[in-house]
């Protein structure tokens, strides 16, 4: 089983790094082959919104940079971890730059799911998503927004298992890790 950890850190932050290492350790202990990408260290241009990845070079972005490789790895993983500081209730710009470049991996065609319009999937097998948002102190509004965002992403990306977890820096790390471990069991059962 492959897990891809997309690290959307904006700066060096000890708490953030510590929780990240614990997660990687746990994934490896459970038998995942883990790859972590520090997104601020790679070249990923912004999506140009041209939709050529749907109608001219189907399935691939025309920008030849690291964004293509990350999209490929996302498709080929069983589990993707969106790991990011919570920024105004959403993801950091570093994590978002690769999520925007993920759209070549779905189809342009519209379909109706859950009573709403969404796109059809390009690939039969799709990755589960666990999103981990790190926040300095509890903030109800930001946490609720983050969870809702992850839910909506999972609808669009068709994740078999999806979960949003918030780690606030005032909380006990062990409690958080045991919560993460329980979710992992669900991913393993569905993979």
């Amino acid at each position: 089983m492959k897990a891809l950890l997309l690290n959307g850190s904006l700066k060096n932050d000890n708490d953030f790094n510590m929780i990240c290492s614990s997660i990687v350790e746990l994934l490896e202990r459970d038998g995942f082959e883990v790859e972590q990408i520090m997104l601020k260290d790679i070249e990923v241009a912004a999506c140009q919104g041209c939709f050529e990845c749907w109608v001219k070079t189907p399935g691939q972005c025309k920008i030849d940079d690291d964004g293509r490789e990350v999209a490929r790895k996302m498709v080929q993983s069983n589990l993707i971890i969106h790991f990011s500081p919570i920024i105004f209730g959403g993801y950091s710009s570093e994590l978002k730059k690769v999520l925007d470049r993920f759209i070549p991996t779905i189809l342009p065609f519209f379909t109706k799911r859950n009573g709403e319009t969404h796109h059809k999937y390009r690939y039969k097998s799709r990755s589960s998503i666990i999103a981990i948002g790190v926040i300095d102190k509890p903030d109800e509004e930001e946490e609720a927004t983050f969870k809702e965002l992850v839910y909506r992403n999972s609808l669009n990306m068709g994740a078999p298992v999806h979960e949003a977890l918030v780690y606030n820096k005032t909380q006990n790390e062990e409690d958080f890790i045991s919560g993460f471990s329980n979710i992992l069991k669900r991913v393993e059962a569905k993979t």
Binding site: W54, P58, F110, R122
Partner: protein, 228 residues
């Protein structure tokens, strides 16, 4: 009247002036201009990558009485460069206590026909506004952005009459420093194309474009499949 003279339109689409974000934002600012406001404009994608342009963005934001952020919905949220701009603006505003009251609104348009899919993006904008000490004056959502496709609203005609009407009402309120009235928000987000029609014609449109590029048969290709 309080100081509400200068509006800044920030466009958060990579398509710049040819975007639906610009069609919507430009319509609103042209009304505000008629009502006597001075308008400045900035294209976020060109502003966030270099130190000089970042300073220009910060300066534009600092000098505005009303900030209008108009962007497309990308993966249920805002495009990455727009989030980057928000991070930079917030960082700058942490450095000092702002002296003046500044109003903030957001306009989110999306590709799916349901305008309601923009709600999370607006929530993000509202939290940004709160954290920067701006006064949140409301958010506008527009579904089916592909049907506007970057064309000026006046040229789009009858189909978008409610959007036009709503933006006109919003302009009057904003000029007076008031919140965008619910009536305007409801008019603008009203369905202007039947959903089934949008889906059917949308799908046809993708096929026609693929044919133009000679890849009609390849449109469902899976280049990242492990089994090729």
């Amino acid at each position: 009247m309080s100081n509400n003279n200068k509006a800044l339109l920030l466009i958060g689409s990579p398509k710049g002036e040819n975007s639906t974000s610009a069609s919507l934002g430009n319509h609103l600012t042209s009304r505000l201009e008629e009502l006597g406001m001075k308008i400045e404009k900035g294209f976020i994608h060109r502003l966030v990558n270099r130190e000089e342009t970042i300073q220009d963005l910060i300066r534009k934001v600092d000098s505005a009485d009303l900030i209008i952020l108009s962007f497309p919905l990308y993966v249920d949220s805002l495009p990455a460069p727009v989030i980057k701009a928000m991070e930079l603006i917030k960082e700058e505003r942490n450095k000092f206590e702002s002296k003046k009251s500044q109003n903030f609104i957001a306009i989110s348009n999306n590709g799916f026909p349901e305008a309601s899919q923009n709600i999370i993006a607006l929530q993000i904008c509202r939290i940004f506004s709160r954290d920067c000490g701006f006064v949140w004056k409301g958010g506008i959502v527009v579904g089916g952005g592909g049907a506007i496709n970057g064309i000026p609203l006046q040229e789009r005609g009858g189909m978008v009459r409610n959007v036009i009407k709503g933006l006109d009402i919003a302009a009057h309120a904003l000029k007076d420093g008031k919140d965008i009235p619910q009536e305007a928000i409801d008019l603008i987000s009203k369905k202007f194309i039947p959903y089934t029609f949008y889906r059917v014609f949308g799908n046809l449109g993708w096929r026609l474009q693929a044919r133009k590029y000679g890849v009609k048969k390849k449109i469902k290709d899976t280049p990242y499949s492990l089994t090729i």
